[in-house]
Amino acid sequence: MTHMGLLLAAVLFVLGLAGLLARRNLLMILVSIEIMLNAAGLAFIAAGAAWNQPDGQVMFLFILTVAAAEVAVGLALVLQLHHQTKSVDADRANRMRG
């Protein structure tokens, strides 16, 4: 059962990684990062369930906090970039000066 949890976490993490590498839309890149963070948290929960310890769930809580903070700052940056370049293309950011 916990092995299946780890397997699901691995599949979700790999899917998020593929999306992160393939997409150029900044919003989709953030979505892929969310999927990967969620998969990492699921792995922590499966490990905590295997060892009968609450530490895995505590780690998931911290991952939840980090994900919330990351998505708030990331989406504000996407808004700022869209305001300046009128695009959500990740490659546009290499034309920033100063």
Binding site: M1, M4, F13, A49, N52, A68, A72, L79, D89
Partner: protein, 178 residues
């Protein structure tokens, strides 16, 4: 519980595949919501009901609302969909798929070596709360500071955009009504 977990896992994987491959950002977000809900069910089946509830409230609730809100603010229309079709000629997925497959093979090898499978133990909210407020109390304080810093940073990054838009709207209204 294993049947519940199997169903949830299948739904999560299918919904995630759809989410990362949609051209329209709103469709991708709408596929991501069932994916996160299915992961919450999987967490519940693994014996962590408290974290399953938090996953629904924070991931599928708060974070997804933030994403949908920003997507609506950006107002990406048909033009962005055409641009996505230009960006995604299909063969752009070959490299990422190979790299992700290699990583997955590494995961599988390490999982097969992990020893015999164990049963999932139920760890209730009581034990989690005790660990959170005793062993990890410093981490909780740091998490609150991180959230505060993120809120301030998001405000400072966002206020410039919104302020400029308001100023532009005001000048446009002045020009419009002399």
């Amino acid at each position: 519980m294993p049947v519940l977990f199997g169903f949830a896992a299948i739904i999560a994987i299918v919904a995630t595949v759809m989410a990362i491959s949609r051209l329209n950002a709103v469709h991708a977000l709408l596929y991501l919501v069932p994916s996160l809900l299915a992961v919450a069910v999987a967490i519940y089946a693994l014996g962590a009901p408290y974290l399953a509830a938090l996953e629904v409230i924070i991931y599928a609730g708060a974070i997804m609302v933030l994403f949908v809100f920003v997507t609506m603010m950006l107002n990406l229309g048909e033009a962005s969909k055409r641009q996505e079709q230009q960006w995604q000629p299909g063969r752009g997925w070959i490299g990422p798929t190979i790299l992700a497959g290699l990583l997955f093979a590494a995961f599988l090898v390490s999982l097969l070596r992990a020893g015999p499978p164990t049963a999932a133990h139920y760890v209730g909210p009581h034990d989690v709360g005790l660990a959170l407020m005793s062993t990890y109390v410093l981490g909780v304080e740091l998490a609150s500071m991180l959230l505060m810093g993120a809120a301030v940073a998001a405000y400072h990054l966002g206020v410039a955009v919104v302020g400029k838009q308001q100023k532009a709207a005001e000048t446009a209204a002045k020009v419009g009504t002399p």
